[in-house]
């Protein structure tokens, strides 16, 4: 800045034509995050597909008559991570939110087709029961304005009629925090307000809250897009751990992340399910030209 002003002053004195110098900033040097040791437990990455949990058959969703998801059929197995990828507005978040019937909260949404959870149509279940079996984590970390303990206990509490005591809940809460990989960081004070945690810790608290009632399926809507690379790494590792006990469906814009965490990948485009297969197939030898263009970054 100083440089620029001096030249300006100079040019004013000598009455040269009004020309000034713009000093361009040097491009920022990216600070590479420290290379994380790969978790040895994850390294072999065996695709241990368990029993089928969710089956989506011929599902279509439209908002006020405009189709957002067009006759999609999928199956989701326990022990697997399914990544939904595709450009913005392709219907992947809508599909995800239909799996626990959150789209119903939008009055203009209309649905046809079926979603089966363990062979039972989810629209025959009570919505609160369904949502405690199919949990969800959102893009923004959104802990409730209460203590860390209460955040997790809130998910457990009103499942039973009578109010359980703290002593009864404590082991369940601690277990959930431990499975979310957060317990060691917060164990000294579980009564701290959850909003005091860092963004990555908040997101892991949200995961702990979601998995506390032992759901069968965990839906994640771009869980890392608001986080820094280190927190993202921690959460990706966590997803690898969690898939042993439940089915995970993750929506992501980050193709590299899909490649890192997913066992199966579904590529959607303008509401259509273009390609569905194992991660290796979709990324290395896609069948559709559209998929190849997307995973190679030709469009997006």
């Amino acid at each position: 800045m100083d440089n620029m002003l001096d030249i300006e002053a100079l040019s004013a004195q000598e009455e040269v034509p009004p020309v000034r110098t713009i000093v361009l900033d040097r491009p920022p040097v990216p600070v590479a995050p420290p290379v994380r040791e790969r978790n040895p437990l994850r390294e072999p990455a065996p695709s241990t597909a368990g029993p089928e949990r969710l089956r989506v058959s011929d599902l279509s969703i439209a908002y006020a008559g405009v189709p957002a998801v067009k006759s999609v059929s999928l199956s989701i197995h326990q022990g697997e991570v399914l990544a939904l990828i595709g450009p913005s507005g392709c219907g992947k978040t809508t599909l995800l939110r239909t799996l626990n019937r959150l789209t119903e909260l939008t009055p203009s949404a209309a649905r046809s087709g079926r979603v089966l959870l363990d062979g039972q149509d989810i629209h025959e279940l009570v919505d609160t029961t369904l949502r405690s079996r199919v949990a969800m984590v959102f893009q923004q970390p959104n802990p409730f304005p209460m203590s860390i303990f209460d955040n997790v206990a809130f998910a457990l509490r009103e499942q039973s009629r009578k109010r359980p005591r703290r002593r009864e809940l404590e082991p369940l809460v601690i277990d959930a925090l431990r499975r979310a990989g957060l317990y060691e960081e917060v164990c000294h004070d579980l009564d701290r307000p959850a909003l005091r945690l860092s963004g990555g810790q908040q997101q892991r608290l949200c995961i702990a809250r979601a998995i506390a009632p032992r759901p069968e399926v965990l839906l994640m809507d771009e869980p890392c897009s608001a986080l820094d690379p280190i927190s993202t790494g921690v959460i990706e590792e966590l997803i690898g751990e969690l898939r042993r006990e439940l089915a995970v469906v993750i929506v992501t814009h980050n193709l590299a992340q899909a490649r890192r965490v997913a066992d199966k990948v579904a590529f959607m485009y303008l509401g259509d399910l273009i390609e569905y297969g194992t991660a290796d197939e979709v990324f290395t030898q896609p069948r559709a030209a559209r998929t190849r263009d997307y995973v190679q970054g030709t469009f997006g």
Binding site: L5, V19, R20, P145, L197, Q202, P213
Partner: protein
């Protein structure tokens, strides 16, 4: 690395501090005049506020004795015989309690309904404009309305009776009910604005945990707007303790708190009394003028209460957690 670019004539003042063009002395005279007016207005208001506080403090502290707060008022010929302001203090506290106690559930329930349900939308619009009408009604009109309501035979058990059985329509309940209408609009608005500022994904997060709408409202949403509700309550309290018209018409402005009937608490609620505002009015030179110095002392106490409440509102507003959950503090 540097490149040359043609210099553009821009109207914006330069950012550097040494540039003389940024000084107001080089502005056009009209701009300077407006700036001077703005400064004068701001400083003038500061001066007025300081004058009020300092003058009332000067006159009030002069006659404020600790005993004044704890002795009951009395009728006397000279100022030394007229006692203290204990009854008006208790009256103010009791009236505030009743007013907020009635306004709180109404206002919070209305705000939750508007922000979380709000259907059918025409009804929501009607409710919101009704509250605006209540907010805009002058307090003396509310007081007159309350008087005509509570003088009905139907409400006779709620208020003070004359010897012959005539209904006066004056009691703590009657005044408190109208005071709740004074406190309701700010409390409603603060709660509604707070609820509308809660991001949508917060509600969805609770739904996604299998919570019902009512559990979401009770545990998550009301928890997030706690500070807004506190702000609203404080605003409502400061409006109640500052109101005079309702006290004059509906509380009877009796010197002492007078009970009515044999039942311990009910007799108090049905009884009459006075508040700091009506005490100031009665003792000021404009009223009966019996004890102007005590009016100053009571006015100072009132001013301290209201200023304290305003400070509290600001403190609550500042301690509110940042809206973004990402920052975390």
């Amino acid at each position: 690395m540097s490149v040359y670019a043609p210099q553009l004539e821009t109207g914006s003042p330069p950012t550097s501090k040494r540039g003389r063009r940024s000084s107001p002395w080089t502005w056009r005279w009209r701009d300077r005049l407006v700036l001077a007016c703005a400064w004068t207005a701001g400083l003038g208001l500061c001066a007025i506020a300081a004058a009020i506080v300092l003058y009332m403090g000067y006159r009030g502290i002069e006659y404020l004795r600790p005993g004044l707060l704890f002795t009951r008022p009395a009728i006397g010929q000279s100022q030394s015989q007229t006692g203290g302001i204990l009854d008006p203090l208790i009256g103010t506290a009791l009236l505030t309690l009743i007013g907020i106690g009635l306004a709180f559930p109404l206002a919070v329930a209305c705000a939750v309904w508007i922000a979380e349900y709000g259907r059918p939308s025409w009804l929501a619009r009607v409710v919101e404009s009704s509250i605006e009408i209540v907010a805009g009604t002058p307090d003396i009109v509310l007081a007159l309305f309350g008087l005509s309501i509570f003088q009905l035979g139907l409400f006779a058990p709620l208020s003070f009776r004359a010897e012959g059985g005539g209904v006066y329509g004056r009691s703590f309940v009657a005044a408190g009910a109208m005071m709740s209408l004074i406190a309701l609009p700010p409390l409603f608005a603060a709660t509604r604005d707070g609820l509308q500022a809660v991001p949508e994904h917060m509600r969805e997060a609770a739904f996604a945990l299998g919570k019902t709408r009512i559990a979401t409202i009770r545990r998550v949403l009301l928890g997030s707007v706690r500070s807004n509700i506190a702000t609203g309550v404080t605003l409502g309290v400061s409006r109640i303790i500052g109101d005079t018209a309702i006290v004059l018409l509906l509380l009877g402005e009796t010197l002492h708190i007078e009970t009515q009937g044999p039942v311990p608490v009910v007799d108090l609620l049905r009884g009459t009394g006075s508040t700091l505002t009506s005490y100031v009015y009665d003792n000021s030179p404009a009223g009966e003028g019996a004890a102007p110095q005590k009016a100053y002392a009571a006015a100072f106490v009132l001013l301290v209460f209201v200023l304290g409440l305003n400070l509290l509102v600001e403190r609550i507003g500042r301690s509110r957690p940042a809206p973004s959950p990402l920052t975390g503090r």
